[in-house]
């Protein structure tokens, strides 16, 4: 029996769940806005209390590694890494876009997971439903919403749109003819999906040491600022 703590903070919503062998014992969703750091740990404590799970019983920690908004994302990833290290258990990092797409796996159509990257940009990836889950058919990318819309239009395929990037760029996505919006229920990464996906990975020993788990930023954050000879 493996007990797992699952955390995703890639969007303004904090998602936490505790699972046992892939089944969710309890979950908490909080619209934390920019208070991820204040909301996350009390949510974990509440869930432990309500499910009767003690931290030292955990066999793994799973975390959504983005891409997502920077401040929230690093709260979740850092918390997961610290807990993994302190409890001496493996950490499983799963893309937060996968966690948006996974709950839609029972429809026949292609799924576009779209998370808000602010300033009319989105983090996105596309998936096809396959037996037992979804399969990633693009890379994880960041770019203007209008560019993704143009690509989907050119693809000419029916697509289900999910994630908070759709509502934030309503004008762009509204122009798509062969698309349906999965709506509010699917706008943020699912902690239930994280428990399910991560449990499979733990079973196949596809996990990392806590220090090897890193957020997916997608933007070239190692680049130097363009100072030239100016200082």
């Amino acid at each position: 029996m493996t007990l797992m703590l699952a955390i995703d903070t890639a969007t303004p919503r904090v998602a936490v769940a505790i699972g046992e062998d892939g089944r969710v014992l309890g979950s908490v969703y909080l619209s934390a806005r920019r208070r991820h750091a204040e909301a996350l740990v009390p949510a974990i404590a509440y869930l432990c209390e309500q499910t009767g799970v003690e931290l030292r019983q955990l066999g793994a920690v799973a975390v959504g590694v983005g891409p997502g908004l920077f401040t929230g994302l690093r709260v979740g990833v850092t918390t997961a890494k610290i807990m993994g290290q302190a409890l001496e258990v493996p950490v499983v990092g799963v893309s937060s876009l996968d966690l948006v797409a996974h709950p839609l796996r029972f429809g026949g159509q292609m799924i576009a997971a779209v998370l808000d990257a602010r300033r009319h940009e989105v983090f996105h990836a596309r998936y096809r439903p396959v037996s037992g889950g979804v399969q990633l058919v693009t890379e994880y990318r960041v770019g203007p919403a209008v560019e993704l819309v143009a690509e989907l239009e050119a693809g000419g395929e029916d697509v289900v749109l999910a994630g908070d990037g759709v509502a934030s760029n309503r004008a762009a996505f509204g122009a798509l003819e062969r698309a349906v919006d999965a709506g509010r229920e699917f706008e943020a990464p699912s902690a239930t999906a994280l428990v399910e996906i991560a449990d499979g990975r733990v079973g196949r020993e596809e996990f990392s040491a806590p220090w090897d788990v890193a957020p997916l930023y997608l933007r070239a954050s190692d680049a130097e600022l363009a100072w030239g000879n100016r200082r």
Binding site: T71, G72, E224, L225
Partner: protein, 160 residues
């Protein structure tokens, strides 16, 4: 991109340009202030801050990197002078501020790819005359929301 250029003959006049701009800013805006050392970037921001009702003395955040003031809007004043890498800029979590504060970034032109394209660009250059207090201040509206305010920026500067 639509721009307006004005000449100022003293720090007070540069401050007035900042103050004149204040009537046009609202939460979520980004203002990039460019210009070499001593060109009056902080002076401009002082005027802007006074214009949005900030009574506190505004000083350059070169060493603190970011300072926050509260007037009729929240104003986050950032100076990237001591930053080397984009990662350090991302570490400030500026994207999360965008919604409910005015973000003013000194030397922001070196971080162009990491700041919203929709911003007001303010550039200060010494001169054109030999008088050391003279400055050429150009304000350029980029992106849809500032583009729509370009005429208002020009009018505000005329009226100052």
């Amino acid at each position: 991109m639509t721009g307006t250029t004005v000449l100022t003959r003293s720090a007070d006049e540069t401050r007035d340009v900042g103050r004149a701009t204040a009537g046009l800013v609202h939460a979520g805006d980004v203002i990039v202030v460019a210009g070499e050392l001593g060109s009056g970037k902080t002076t401009f921001v002082q005027g802007l801050a006074a214009g949005v009702g900030i009574a506190e003395r505004v000083v350059s955040p070169t060493f603190t990197i970011a300072r926050e003031y509260v007037g009729s809007v929240r104003l986050v004043h950032v100076d990237v002078y001591r930053l080397e890498r984009a990662q350090e800029l991302l570490d400030l979590g500026l994207e999360d501020l965008a919604d409910d504060a005015v973000l003013v970034v000194e030397w922001g032109d070196v971080a162009a790819g990491y700041l919203p394209a929709d911003h007001l660009a303010v550039r200060l250059t010494p001169g054109p005359g030999a008088d050391t207090d003279e400055r050429t201040v150009s304000l350029t509206a980029g992106g849809p929301s500032w583009g729509a305010r370009a005429d208002a920026v020009a009018a505000a500067l005329d009226a100052r």
